[in-house]
Subunit: 452 residues, 2 copies
């Protein structure tokens, strides 16, 4: 009996998923769905065992464990058992996992940017014969894959790219858009509140362009998407580094940006200008203040009402629509601040998490659009490549699908031996992007390409 | 012979000065001048032996050494020899010195803010019977001493402070002010370029006030100084923590600010708004650009000249005087950037270091003014306490005097056994501020107090 059991185990492959939060729903679902045919044992670990049990729902190939990333013994034990590890942890927590993966010769997949420390593991990972696959979620992830597919195709035809602009936004589906901001949280609220801090860097017609945070949300552009109308786009922090990643080192225009509903940026700029997105210091005794009092502390002194002072303060940057967005948040009211000694950004986030909650039957929406310009045989050509994905509900969000499915598919391809690359890898090569994009299409994540 | 030499050494006290840069001139001069009467051997160490030799000028009680703070053996050896160590190093380099001082039971004096790590040495320093005296320069230093003298006096009379505003600036003397900014560097240029980043925090009439960096230089106030006219003042980052330090925890108004010549802040705001004071990322191939091209990269695109675009960009924040300040810096010209792959702040600093150079015969000027409001026996009273110190030349600057002399005097008082406090200390107690201020007066560093 024991011998038989062991024998059957030889043919099972073990997947360890670390983290069962919001973005892991579709990933876990895919892995469990495919586990029978593929002979996978899927171990899912999270600090919250309840969360894991909820996500694995008693599936026969699932093993639910409570998992503490800082418990070295447990982490090493679980990684030793696995053939591949999928880490859904925040980026800064990957490194212990990655080092164990190298040590025990196990593959790793994450949706996070390659950090300097991760990059340094490249040679060791290659020597260990494993792949440390990173940036295989939505953004980064699907953006790389879908962009490189078009870029490689243009290069193969002998074309030369003169402009590449790429935009992505995690929004709320129009039919569920019932607030004046047109926004609800489908991923980490903290990242939304702190978005753009630093200086945006891109290149336009051969000239470098820099937009510091203090005017990032005022220097926006408008993106049009067939069937979905117009969106605001603000520049992402670093567009320049993508020239090297995409093999476009001499391209004169390269811009990556984030999409929001029209008017969002103008209203968000009120918070930036006030200083309410600062996360670097704590407001003393914040729990004793109302939101109106907090706002007042950021406004020049005067005898008018807070609302009047705010309007005067913003000058011609304020209009009725912007004011209505601000007022809708109840930030001009006597609403009590709940957080104790918190930063302005934390206090703002706490309010927004309530106001911008993705409700149970709300659907989120991912929008991505690439705009390529290139010259081919003396002619200037343009291609637009667009993706819209809507969520099913609050659990199987578009965000969870587009982050989790590329991870799941690439894990399958690695276990099947179809991805042969080793070392620290991102999905910019055909070996990866072709099968990943092809399978994503079958799952409803499909780009529409159009010459314009 | 050997015995006699040793005998005489018993009566000599050893002072170790680490760092012989710009701010150390007056400190070293004071120590050497007093060394004969006080029986001091003064060892001065710096990475540059030339600099040390220049500052010690062959004085018989001076010992000039090349000193490498990262050479553990040398550092410990020199600290072991000393009775007191005076560290002129940048704040972040003090800790190894401070730890050695505790280990070998030697006193320490610095002009830097007490760091968290320094504070943690308090109990050990007390156990070792030594003083770790910090914040005993100008600001912090003379500001603490002179403020506490008035505050203690008001409290002793039974008065209650209702407002304390304190301003300080390191400027150029009016007779040497030959540039439109009214500013030349008398201390670390980097600190001037990065000044104010973060959010200024203070309290006014019982209400907390926050001014983020993006509008710090627009929300200024005007300070009047008898005999010297008006100055711009912008709020320092942290005024709130001084309430505890000064024993004014319930004071309704507490503001600390930095003084500049009128018009400076309005012009500096142009750089803030452009983003040219950002030190967090590098401009690619900056050495291939001109200053005009750099400026253009921060301006919205358009067909006008850079100057026209800059004027349009600043809108009503630009006037003729502001523009003349900007143009005087040659930042709108084809002047080449000298630094390779540098940050915007570094590139700006490199230009300013040439333009704002304190020339050989230029005199700098320190201006400090405290404004106290208090109630005493039902009456509201006001006191202004003001200090103006002018430098002698480029070496014995007002900055070097006001930073170095309090350090030197307090070192003398410690060696003489007149300061008995032990542990981590700042000059807010009478034992320290009374004799330090009294001797500073004899050296021309004298506050003028006036009821208003």
């Amino acid at each position: 009996m024991v011998i038989f059991a062991s024998y059957s185990y030889i043919f099972m492959q073990n997947i360890l998923v670390i983290g069962a939060g919001r973005s892991a729903s579709s990933l876990i679902n895919y892995l469990l769905t495919h586990s029978v045919k593929e002979n996978w044992n899927v171990t899912v670990g999270d600090v919250s065992l309840d969360l894991v049990k909820q996500k694995t729902a008693g599936h026969s190939n699932a093993r639910a464990i409570q998992f503490d990333i800082n418990n070295d013994a447990q982490r090493e034990e679980e990684i030793k058992r696995a053939d591949i590890v999928i880490s859904m942890l925040p980026a800064f927590m990957h490194m212990n996992v990655a080092k164990d993966c190298v040590k025990y010769k196990k593959h790793l997949a994450t949706a996070s940017y390659v950090s300097k420390e991760m990059k340094e593991l490249d040679a060791d990972a290659k020597a260990a014969g494993i792949i440390l696959m990173n940036e295989i979620g939505l953004d980064p992830g699907i953006d790389h894959a879908s962009a490189m597919k078009v870029i490689d195709h243009i290069h193969e035809q002998g074309g030369e790219l003169t402009s590449f602009q790429s935009f992505c936004g995690g929004l709320v589906a129009p039919e569920c858009n019932d607030n004046p901001w047109g926004y609800k949280f489908s991923w980490n609220p903290r990242n939304v509140v702190l978005a753009g801090q630093g200086t945006a860097q891109f290149i336009e017609n051969g000239e470098y362009k820099y937009i510091p945070y203090n005017r990032l949300f005022t220097q926006i552009c408008t993106i049009e998407m067939d069937g979905y109308g117009k969106f605001d786009a603000y520049a992402n922090r670093d567009s320049l580094s993508y020239r090297k990643i995409y093999n476009l080192e001499k391209i004169p225009t390269m811009l990556r940006g984030t999409l929001r509903m029209p008017g969002y940026c103008k209203a968000w700029n009120v918070f930036v200008k006030l200083g309410l997105t600062d996360d670097s210091y704590k407001i003393e005794a914040s729990e004793t203040l109302t939101y109106k009092q907090l706002l007042e502390a950021f406004l020049p002194q005067g005898k008018q009402s807070v609302k009047e002072k705010l309007i005067a303060f913003m000058g011609n940057e304020m209009d009725a629509e912007t004011l209505s967005k601000i007022e809708w948040l109840e930030i001009l009211t006597d609403r009590k601040i709940r957080l104790k000694d918190a930063t302005p950004a934390q206090i703002l986030q706490d309010l927004l998490e309530e106001k911008w909650l993705l409700k149970e039957n709300d659907k989120d929406m991912i929008v991505m659009q690439h705009e390529f310009e290139y010259s081919l045989k003396g002619q200037t050509k343009k291609i637009k490549s667009s993706l819209v994905v809507k969520g099913e509900d609050q659990t199987y969000t578009a965000m969870a699908k587009t982050v989790g499915l590329p991870l799941a598919i690439s894990a399958k391809l690695i276990l099947q031996g179809k991805i042969k690359a080793r070392g620290v890898v991102i999905p910019t090569t055909k070996e990866i992007y072709e099968p990943v994009l092809a399978e994503l299409e079958t799952l409803g994540v499909k780009f529409v390409e159009k010459g314009i």
